[in-house]
C-alpha cells in the first residue's frame, strides 16, 4: 500500500520539474546542438556575400585553440578573481556586522539600501560612466589634481593593471551589496540559540565568526561562489565597453566572451561555434569541480528526508 502511494507521488515529481526541462530543452539544448553542428563548417560572411556552409571537420577547432585562447582564459580569470576576493571578504564582514546586535549599526536600513544600489545600474551604463569618470580629463583626475595628490593626470586606462583594477572595482561595486544580502539571509537563518550558546561559552566575535557562522553558511557561500564564477566566465559588458572591445592595452583585459562576441559579429559562425564548444568544455570542468563540492556537503549530512519517508 505504502509503495503504490509513493509511486503515484513520483508522478507529481515529474510534473513539477517538467516545465523547467521542457523549456530548457527547447531554448538551450536545441540551440546548443545547432551551435555544435556549425562548429564543423566553414561559414562566414564576406561583405554582403555568405561563404559556406562547407564542412571542414576540425579546422575551426584547430584555428581557435592557440596560445590566444589561454591568454584570454587567463585574463578572464584574473579579472574575475581580483573582483571576487574583495567582494566576498567585504560582504562577509558587512553581513556579520549587520546581524551583530552589539555593534548597534545606525542607519542599517539606509546602508543596506545604498550598497545594493549599484547592482541596479546596467553594466553597460556603469562602464560608460566609469570610462568618463576615469578618463584623463575626467572628474576623478580633476579632483585628485585639485587636492594636490597628483602632479599630472593619471592615465588609469593606459596600463594593464589600471584597466584591470577598474574592471575589478566595477564588478566589486556592482556585486558586493548583492552578496551581502545573500549572506545576511544565511546568517540570520542560523538559530540565535547557537550564538547565545557560543557567547555563554566565552567565544569572542572572531571565534564565533570563524567557527560557527562560516561553517553554517557554507551552502550559501557555495552558491555565491558558483554564481560569481558563472558571471566571471561570462564577463563581457564591463571590459568590452571600458576598452572599446579591444581589451587594450595589449589585450590584457580581453575576455573569452569578448572574443566570442567579436567572432559572432564578423560574423564567423564556424569559429564562433568552435569557441562556444571550448567554452562549454571549460564550463564543464568548472561544473565537475563545483558538483564535487556540493556533493561533499550532501554526503556529510545524510539526507533526513529519505529516512523520514
Amino acid at each position: 500500500m505504502k509503495k503504490t502511494k509513493s509511486i503515484s507521488r513520483a508522478k507529481w515529481g515529474y510534473i513539477c520539474i517538467l516545465p523547467f526541462f521542457v523549456t530548457y530543452f527547447i531554448f538551450s539544448f536545441l540551440p546548443l546542438v545547432d551551435t555544435i553542428r556549425y562548429s564543423f563548417y566553414e561559414y562566414y560572411r564576406s561583405g554582403i556575400r555568405t561563404i559556406g556552409p562547407n564542412f571542414v571537420g576540425f579546422d575551426n577547432y584547430i584555428s581557435v585553440m592557440g596560445p590566444d585562447f589561454f591568454t584570454y582564459l587567463k585574463n578572464t580569470f584574473i579579472l574575475w578573481i581580483i573582483g571576487f576576493v574583495p567582494q566576498i571578504v567585504i560582504a562577509l564582514l558587512l553581513a556579520s556586522w549587520f546581524v551583530d546586535a552589539r555593534l548597534k549599526i545606525r542607519g542599517e536600513q539606509f546602508f543596506k539600501v545604498v550598497i545594493y544600489l549599484p547592482n541596479l545600474i546596467m553594466a553597460s551604463a556603469f562602464a560608460m560612466l566609469f570610462f568618463t569618470l576615469f578618463s584623463t580629463s575626467g572628474p576623478v583626475n580633476s579632483i585628485l589634481t585639485n587636492l594636490g595628490l597628483v602632479n599630472g593626470p593619471i592615465d588609469f586606462m593606459g596600463t594593464p593593471t589600471g584597466t584591470r583594477l577598474l574592471v575589478a572595482l566595477m564588478n566589486f561595486l556592482m556585486w558586493f551589496g548583492n552578496t551581502t544580502i545573500m549572506l545576511m539571509a544565511a546568517i540570520m537563518g542560523i538559530s540565535q540559540d547557537v550564538f547565545e550558546a557560543a557567547s555563554i561559552d566565552g567565544c569572542n566575535p572572531r571565534q564565533t565568526f570563524f567557527h560557527i557562522t562560516l561553517p553554517l553558511i557554507r551552502p550559501i557561500l557555495t552558491y555565491t561562489l558558483i554564481t560569481s564564477l558563472i558571471g566571471g566566465l561570462q564577463m563581457f559588458d564591463v571590459p568590452q565597453i571600458l576598452t572599446n572591445g579591444q581589451g587594450n592595452p595589449n589585450r590584457t583585459s580581453y575576455t573569452l566572451i569578448m572574443w566570442l562576441n567579436n567572432l559572432l559579429r564578423a560574423p564567423d559562425y564556424g569559429r564562433a561555434g568552435a569557441l562556444s564548444v571550448y567554452l562549454f568544455v571549460v564550463s564543464g570542468i568548472l561544473c565537475i569541480f563545483v558538483y564535487k563540492m556540493v556533493n561533499r556537503d550532501d554526503e556529510k549530512k545524510p539526507s533526513r528526508r529519505l529516512k523520514r519517508n
Binding site: 556549425y38 562566414y44 560572411r45 564576406s46 561583405g47 554582403i48 556575400r49 555568405t50 561563404i51 590566444d68 553597460s124 560608460m128 570610462f131 568618463t132 578618463s135 584623463t136 580629463s137 575626467g138 593626470p153 592615465d155 586606462m157 593606459g158 596600463t159 594593464p160 563581457f236 559588458d237 568590452q240 565597453i241 572599446n244 572591445g245 579591444q246 587594450n248 592595452p249 595589449n250 589585450r251 572574443w259 562576441n261 567579436n262 567572432l263 559572432l264 559579429r265 564578423a266 560574423p267 564567423d268 559562425y269 569559429r271
Partner: protein, 464 residues
C-alpha cells in the same frame, strides 16, 4: 562622413551579425533577373537607411516635396502623400553596416513598403555596396540619371569612388571632403605673434615645418594636435595601393601607414601631441576643442568644422581660423544609393538629383551648413565671393582654401575593408604610442584583430 565614437563604443554586439544564419543575399542578383526596380505603381513609403540625421536635414532643406517631419524625426511627410521613413543606426564599429546588410538580405522577401529604397554609405565602405557582383546599389542610369549630363558639375573623384570596377556609377554624393588646418587664433597670436591664415600656412606648409612650429608651441605649453589619430587621415588617405587588392584576401600595409606610425611616435614622444587623448570621437577629444584646451589645431574637412568643432567650442565665434595644412587629403563623404528592389524609383531619383546634383540646392546647403558641396562651379563661385564668410570663423571664407584643395584629391585606393583597417590599426598601435608594447607586439595585435573582424583575411603583409 567619418564619425565613429571609438571610445564610448558599446557592445552593439551580436545584433545583426547572427541574424543572417542561412540564406543568401536574395537581392543580389536582381539585376540579372530583370529590373532593379519593382514593377507596378510607385509606393507610398520610402525607407532610407542612414547613420545620423545629417542626410535628413539636407533633404528637408532642398527637396521641394518635403512638407514636414514628425517631431521625433522618424518620418518625413511629402506633399504628394508619400512618407520617408528614416532608419538610423550608429556607424561606429560597423553596426550600421550590420543592420543594413541584414535588411538587404531580407530585401527579396520583404513587403513593398518594408523594402529599403535608399541607403547611404561612407567612403570607407562605399566599394562594398557599389560592387558589381553584389549588385545592391542601382546603377544611376537605371534610375534615369545620366552621370555624364546630370552630374557633370560634380567633382570627378566623387564619381569614380561611387562607381563599380566596370565604371558604372552606382551612387552619388552631395559633398566632397578636402581637409584644412583649423587653428585657434589666440594660441597663434600668443606663440607666433600672428593669426593671419597665410602666415600660419607658411609655418606649416609641410610636416617638417609643422614640427618645428610644434616645438615653438610646446615651449609655450601648447600641443600641435590633440591626438595621433588626428593626423591619420593625411597619411591613410594618401596610400599608394588599397589595403586589400581586388580579389585578394591579404592585407597590405602601405609604407605611408608605417610613416604615420613612426611620425606619430616621434611627435608623441616629443610632447607635440597630447598623449592623454586616445583617438577621436571620445569625450577627451571633444574636450580638446573647448576653450580650456591647450590644443592648437585640427585637420578637418568642412563638415568637421560645422559638425564637430562648432558644437564642442564653448567660447565666442571667430576664435578659429582655417588655412592650408601640410598636405591635401580627403576625409569622409556620404554616398547616396538607390537600393535594388525599390518600389519608389521616381522618388529615389528626385531625391538624388535634388540633394546631389542641383547646383542651387548644393549652394544652399553650403550656405546653411558650411558643407563643401559637390559642385565644381558653385564652389568656385563661393570661393571667389568676397562677401561670403563663415560666422563661426569670424567671417573668414574657408572655401578660399577648400576649393583649391579639392581639385588635388585622388581617391583611387579604396577597398571594402577600409573601415576595419582604419579603426583597428589606430587602436592596435595606440598601445605602442603609449609605450605599453613594442612595435612587433602591436603588429601582432593588429593581425589578430583584423582577422577577427574579417574571417576571410589570410595574411597581413608589412612593408620592408
Amino acid at each position: 562622413m567619418k564619425k565613429r565614437v571609438v571610445s564610448l563604443a558599446l557592445a552593439l554586439s551580436m545584433v545583426a551579425g547572427l541574424t543572417a544564419c542561412g540564406g543568401n543575399p536574395e537581392g543580389g542578383n536582381a539585376g540579372a533577373n530583370g529590373g532593379y526596380v519593382a514593377e507596378g505603381e510607385e509606393g507610398k513609403v520610402i525607407n532610407i537607411y542612414c547613420w545620423n540625421d545629417e542626410f535628413r536635414t539636407r533633404v528637408e532643406a532642398v527637396y521641394d516635396k518635403v512638407d514636414h517631419t514628425s517631431e521625433d524625426g522618424t518620418i518625413t511627410y511629402l506633399t504628394d502623400g508619400a512618407e520617408i521613413h528614416w532608419t538610423i543606426n550608429p556607424n561606429q564599429d560597423g553596426v550600421y553596416q550590420k543592420k543594413l546588410d541584414e535588411a538587404l538580405l531580407n530585401q527579396g522577401s520583404a513587403a513593398a513598403d518594408d523594402k529599403i529604397d535608399m541607403f547611404l554609405s561612407e567612403t570607407d565602405y562605399v566599394v562594398k555596396y557599389t560592387d558589381a557582383e553584389a549588385d545592391i546599389a542601382i546603377p544611376l542610369t537605371e534610375l534615369g540619371i545620366d552621370p555624364e549630363k546630370d552630374l557633370a558639375d560634380q567633382y570627378d573623384f566623387t564619381k569614380t569612388v561611387a562607381s563599380d570596377a566596370n565604371g558604372v556609377q552606382r551612387g552619388s554624393t552631395w559633398q566632397a571632403c578636402p581637409c584644412l588646418f583649423v587653428y585657434r587664433r589666440d594660441i597663434a597670436l600668443d606663440t607666433f605673434g600672428t593669426d593671419d591664415p597665410d602666415e600660419i600656412h607658411a609655418l606649416c606648409s609641410d610636416w617638417d615645418k609643422m614640427k618645428s612650429a610644434g616645438e615653438e608651441l610646446k615651449a609655450k605649453g601648447y600641443y600641435t594636435f590633440a591626438t595621433y589619430a588626428d593626423t591619420f587621415r593625411a597619411y591613410g588617405n594618401s596610400i599608394s595601393a588599397p589595403w586589400v587588392e581586388e580579389g585578394s584576401t591579404e592585407i597590405n600595409v602601405d609604407p605611408q601607414i608605417i610613416n604615420w606610425i613612426n611620425d606619430s611616435k616621434e611627435w608623441l614622444d616629443a610632447g607635440l601631441i597630447d598623449s592623454n587623448i586616445k583617438g577621436q570621437w571620445t569625450d577627451d577629444w571633444n574636450k580638446s576643442m573647448s576653450s580650456e584646451s591647450k590644443v592648437f589645431g585640427f585637420l578637418l574637412p568642412a563638415w568637421g568644422i560645422d559638425f564637430v568643432l562648432n558644437p564642442n567650442w564653448d567660447g565666442e565665434a571667430g576664435a578659429w581660423a582655417v588655412t592650408d595644412g601640410p598636405q591635401a587629403f580627403n576625409w569622409g563623404g556620404s554616398f547616396v544609393h538607390g537600393c535594388v528592389g525599390t518600389d519608389n524609383a521616381e522618388h529615389v531619383k528626385e531625391i538624388m538629383l535634388a540633394v546631389t546634383a542641383d547646383k542651387e540646392n548644393l549652394m544652399q546647403i553650403t550656405k546653411d551648413y558650411l558643407d563643401f558641396t559637390n559642385t565644381q562651379s558653385g564652389m568656385e563661385e563661393i570661393a571667389n565671393d568676397e562677401s561670403f564668410g563663415a560666422e563661426f570663423l569670424g567671417g573668414e571664407n574657408p572655401f578660399k582654401y577648400f576649393q583649391p584643395a579639392a581639385s588635388s584629391i585622388q581617391m583611387t585606393t579604396l577597398s571594402p575593408y577600409d573601415q576595419g583597417c582604419v579603426e583597428l590599426i589606430q587602436s592596435s598601435f595606440g598601445d605602442y604610442f603609449q609605450g605599453q608594447v613594442d612595435f612587433d607586439t602591436a603588429k601582432a595585435n593588429f593581425e589578430r584583430a583584423i582577422k577577427e573582424r574579417y574571417p576571410e583575411i589570410t595574411a597581413v603583409n608589412w612593408p620592408e
